[in-house]
Symmetry: C2
Subunit: 208 residues, 2 copies
DNA sequence: AGCCGTATCAGCCAAAAGGCTGAGAGACGC
DNA sequence: GCGTCTCTCAGCCTTTTGGCTGATACGGCT
């Protein structure tokens, strides 16, 4: 038991090369294929059945990383999937984990961290970068902050800058209902105004 | 004239390795040093005087890419600096260009594009990825969209979710003045509501 | 000196947003 | 079957925001 096959999925060539170079320094890790998109990732998994899939979430076009994780786990249960991405967005972490990801690493993780995450993943161990872990715990600790599907939908449209009237039209509900949803969203996000809600929503979904 | 020395600056190890591997395929390009931060970049430039500096804008801690570009150009005029980053934010493009960047590439650029950008940079040619170029042109075509310093300051606080009253207190101006500034900002951004202003502001400064 | 851009402030009015209470209809779990 | 969650809607009232018009003051450019 000393050879682990790895599939790299990232839409950036430089990241794939870098990761390949990095993993190449470890005798037990073998990159047997690369993919630049979710679709391609699924094909490569079928062909090579790698032990571990290391995948970026942000894929330029087509299927995104989350969707790719879900589908790969549906068809081929065997692979352990590690998310390897730049930003730690609250929503992405949760979605990746329940799509079936075994771990969640940030791209500035130390090489050793990456190696041990891959080795751990094969044995069914979950690994995540410290900042990711703390965010995830925070999510789990505050379940009352989880938005319902409808609320999330509204919040998403809210970040486009729509008014209550427009939101109502877009979702085929009355303005009164929009206001009700908004009130709930504000309460869950801990803000009082739509401006603050938009700010926190975009920032949570986004960067840093 | 067939040897170009390159300094790589990126806070992600994998990106540096990947870029190094990629440039290694070209006989005339030689990566002579790497740096993981703006501060380190300045030191490496002093030591090695590379022909070209390839730099990511987003640097985790300390000096950001823009600042690093400015300082390197101040002390050592000789180097051509290429920005090599993930996202094309309007503001970053403009700031990078007037900080003295010779080109602006996105990380999903084709290898050939990267090579020719580096070779071109040595000869004083500017290169930028097509999506970047189109954004830059749009900025230049619409100079009336440029915010005054005070307006930018307000917009920045706006994205924190503050109310007019709070904005006034924070900036030591009356609420009336806040409203005047906001009206100007909306006009320049082409929006009608503060919600839309926040949304466009954060997105312009940010991602995608 | 005159003009323009920037920043400051005021008042007025209409529209939008937010707080509150209450309430009905499905869906799901136990 | 009963409670809970979610989504839907309504009315009422206050606060906030946005549109408009006009005004003063300072600095720089010509």
């Amino acid at each position: 038991m000393s050879s682990i096959t790895v599939l790299l999925v990232d839409d950036h060539l430089v990241v794939r090369s870098g990761l390949r170079a990095l993993l190449g320094t470890q005798p037990d890790l073998h990159v047997i294929a690369e993919a630049a998109s979710g679709e391609e990732a699924m094909d490569r998994v079928q062909e090579h059945s790698p032990h571990v899939v290391v995948m970026d979430l942000a894929m330029g076009a087509g299927m995104d990383g989350i969707e790719a994780i879900r589908r790969i786990r549906e068809r081929n249960g065997g692979q352990a999937i590690l998310v390897f991405t730049t930003y730690d967005s609250d929503a992405d972490i949760v979605r990746a984990v329940d799509a079936g990801a075994m771990g969640y690493l940030l791209k500035d993780a130390a090489p050793e961290e990456i190696f041990s995450a891959i080795r751990g993943a094969v044995q069914g161990k979950s690994v995540m970068s410290p900042p990711v872990a703390s965010r995830l715990f925070q999510q789990l600790r505050n379940p009352e902050e989880i938005l319902t599907p409808r609320e999330a939908e509204l919040l998403s449209l809210l970040t486009e800058g729509l008014s209550n009237r427009e939101l109502g039209r877009r979702l085929f509900i009355s303005e009164a209902t929009v206001k009700t949803h908004l009130a709930h969203i504000y309460a869950k996000l801990g803000v009082e105004t739509r401006a603050a809600a938009i700010a926190t929503a975009i920032r949570r979904e986004g960067m840093r």
